[in-house]
């Protein structure tokens, strides 16, 4: 086994362990919150800043090891991944040259449609809608609630 292979195996194990611990931590917080709520604390939070910080402190050594491993692979040529072997030989179809005139007409039509949609959208308040949504924290994106 070459050093690269052993290193790759170790990094794989480290990555999987870190990912599993992160997932289990998140699930653990949620389960603890559910248990607290079932016990009668109707508004018990699932996550708290202190709780998350405490858990991250526990995961930090593993994360630091992973980061050091990633950095090592960048710095030490012997650990860098081997160039991937190309897929087995097979002929690819020669791409057909598009009809330039038709393509230009299509692009022009699509450009006109895009411009018309943007102008219509700006006039019907679509731009304002976008602004109003984007300047507030998106609860769905963040996962609040």
């Amino acid at each position: 086994m070459t050093a690269r292979r052993i290193y790759g195996l170790l990094m794989t194990l480290l990555t999987l362990a870190l990912a599993a611990l992160l997932c289990l931590s998140a699930a653990g917080f949620y389960r603890a919150g559910l248990a607290a709520r079932a016990a009668g604390e109707a508004n018990a939070p699932f996550f708290t800043r202190e709780g998350v910080a405490e858990r991250l402190k526990g995961l930090w050594p593993l994360a630091a090891l992973w980061l050091a491993g990633a950095l090592a692979s960048w710095l030490i040529p012997a650990l860098r991944p081997a160039r991937p072997r190309p897929a087995p030989a097979s002929a690819a179809p020669v791409p057909a040259a598009p009809d330039q005139r038709r393509m230009a007409l299509l692009r022009l039509a699509l450009l006109a449609a895009a411009a018309a949609l943007i102008v219509l959208g700006a006039l019907n308040g679509g731009a304002l809608d976008m602004l109003q949504k984007a300047v507030k924290i998106c609860t769905e994106c963040v996962g609040l609630g």
Binding site: M11, F46, A127, C141
Partner: protein, 305 residues
């Protein structure tokens, strides 16, 4: 000195990598937001950026195209979604999936993760079939579910809520990392737990599978892939030079059948392997990146010996 030169030659970032880093920074140029834990609320947010970049990221200076589209669809019973569709049409027509390869922060992150020396999953018939999943996600989570709930007067950006890793990474982690947002922790529940686990799984998969999210899950890539033939910019094959040897398809890490098709993210990796120098990156008639100069037979002979 020579040692450093060779180290630099091996580590020097490519033009594409620099463009990726620059666009990621430009999308998130409101650096004060990270220091204050607040999002930008200026007028630039009435326009969206072409790549996937959550507008709840403290640094984001513009809206996210997918979030904007879903919200426009949610509002469509009152107001047709002309604006968001027009912007997406414009981006798709101008750049197509060049956005994925050159101007998407999530794509950049996945490419950096893929550099780690762990075993890699190669492309196959299975990954090619799986690449259709993103169209299903586009139809269900970006179009049907938001529209279905909009008709019941309930706005639901389903992709943002259930899947989007950019929202979790940039929005949630970006905001929660700041002490000023400590009270947000109390509002986190099942939605965050699910999205966080999904984010970890997507990032982990990206170490083993090249651009896992872009190839199989990203509905924005699915939208831009519809412009594969019509997009103004992209890699183009000179049909007169191409011999159909297939070197380009073999070296490509994504599931293309030919250069520039719906799966191609225009990374230009194929340009350096084409023996006929038939591939170039073009925007209309302008050549943005020409194929590397052909080496003379003498040079090649010298290398072989």
């Amino acid at each position: 000195m020579d040692k450093w030169k060779s180290w630099w030659a091996a580590h020097r970032p490519s033009t594409r990598r620099l463009v990726q880093l620059y666009t990621a920074l430009m999308y998130n140029a409101h650096l004060r937001g990270f220091a204050e834990g607040k999002i930008y609320t200026g007028p630039a947010k009435s326009v969206c950026v072409p790549g996937l970049n959550c507008y709840s990221c403290p640094g984001a200076v513009a809206a996210c195209p997918l979030g904007a589209l879903q919200n426009a669809i949610s509002a469509s019973p009152r107001r047709p979604a002309f604006y968001a569709l027009g912007l997406l049409l414009l981006f798709g027509l101008a750049l197509g999936r060049v956005v994925c390869g050159w101007a998407c922060p999530i794509g950049l992150l996945q490419e950096l993760l893929y550099k780690l020396p762990v075993p890699k999953v190669k492309k196959s018939r299975f990954t090619r079939a799986l690449s259709w999943l993103k169209y299903l996600i586009l139809a269900v989570f970006v179009a049907i579910l938001p529209l279905w709930y909009a008709l019941r007067d309930f706005p639901l950006p389903a992709f943002c809520k259930y899947i989007c890793p950019a929202g979790t990474l940039q929005g949630a982690v970006g905001l929660l990392a700041h002490p000023a947002n400590a009270e947000l922790f109390g509002l986190l529940g099942a939605g965050f737990t699910w999205k966080f686990i999904l984010l970890v799984l997507i990032l982990t998969a990206s170490l083993f599978i090249y651009r896992f999210f872009c190839r199989f899950l990203c509905p924005l890539g699915a939208i831009y892939s519809l412009f594969a033939r019509a997009a103004f910019a992209g890699v183009r094959v000179d049909a007169a030079r191409c011999t159909g040897c297939g070197a380009c398809v073999r070296c490509c890490p994504v599931d293309i059948r030919q250069v520039g098709d719906r799966e191609c993210v225009h990374c230009t990796r194929c340009m350096s392997v084409c023996p006929e120098q038939a591939i170039s990156l073009k925007a209309g008639r302008w050549t943005l990146k020409a194929p590397p100069a052909r080496r003379s037979a003498q040079e090649r002979g010298g290398e072989a010996s």
